[in-house]
Assembly symmetry: none
Homo-oligomer: 154 residues x 2
């Protein structure tokens, strides 16, 4: 049931975890070949799953000896970083923005997968109860829940 994009994402994350250097380099064509797909599929995965919002940096070079390098953003202090992320939440938050923040925090082990699911569930449930102002509610809810979690752990 999980899509090809999911598999590619998982594979890259596994490479990242086992790299030790927080950064991996790969060949787009090679990758596409390994997964039997068109090369642009790799770009699709990168642009949907490895965004800056989610805490990843992607660099690349074309031409002979070209490459794609994927790194995780470096933070000195996870706690301070999380607080900054929280502060970056404005008064409105779309579902996609929320997801990016949650995945970012999960990938950096600031919240657990279970907490991520719970927050998503709670927000979905509450947002479903109102007609207007969902983005406003989402912002409040996510800010509060994350603040609570971070505060509880510190």
């Amino acid at each position: 049931m999980s899509s090809l994009a999911d598999h590619i994402e998982a594979y890259i994350k596994k490479m990242l975890r086992s790299s030790g250097t927080n950064s991996v380099e790969l060949s787009r064509a090679q990758m596409a070949d390994d997964f039997s797909c068109v090369p642009s599929q790799i770009n699709y995965v990168l642009s949907t799953r490895f965004t800056l919002e989610r805490g990843y940096i992607v660099e690349s070079r074309r031409g002979g000896g070209g490459y794609i390098r994927i790194g995780r953003v470096q933070v000195e202090d996870d706690y301070a970083h999380a607080v900054r992320l929280l502060q970056s939440i404005g008064s409105e938050l779309t579902e996609k923005q929320m997801d990016n923040i949650l995945v970012h925090l999960k990938d950096h082990q600031i919240i657990s997968p279970r907490e991520l699911r719970l927050i998503r569930g709670i927000v979905q449930q509450e947002a479903g109860k109102i007609g207007q102002g969902r983005n406003l509610l989402r912002a409040s809810l996510v800010r509060s829940l994350l603040f609570f979690i971070i505060e509880s752990k510190s």
Copy 2:
């Protein structure tokens, strides 16, 4: 007597029981096909029977390879009463009502004094940001934060 929605509910619960993992994944279209109904009927069942208050988390994704995943979250007996209290929170909540609930939960050791202060602080902060609909926001915020706390402890 027993409606189609009931059958679908029972079927999903049976899948959950026999899954071993406390979570099942299904395809909305497939499900609708199996029960010879329109796909949105599945949404109806999910939104009326598999709510957070009843102990379920529903996640889904659209698009190719899309899915609906239903997970179970279990609440211990100690907290069942608190959950019922949560359910009684309507769509609006005044500051006074909120305080009554928080104090009650603190007195019954469901939340700690620190958590009480934290919730009050968060709600005050968020409520201060908006002009209208404070009671609506308070209800969502308190319900969500308390649910999160209870869920995290059980």
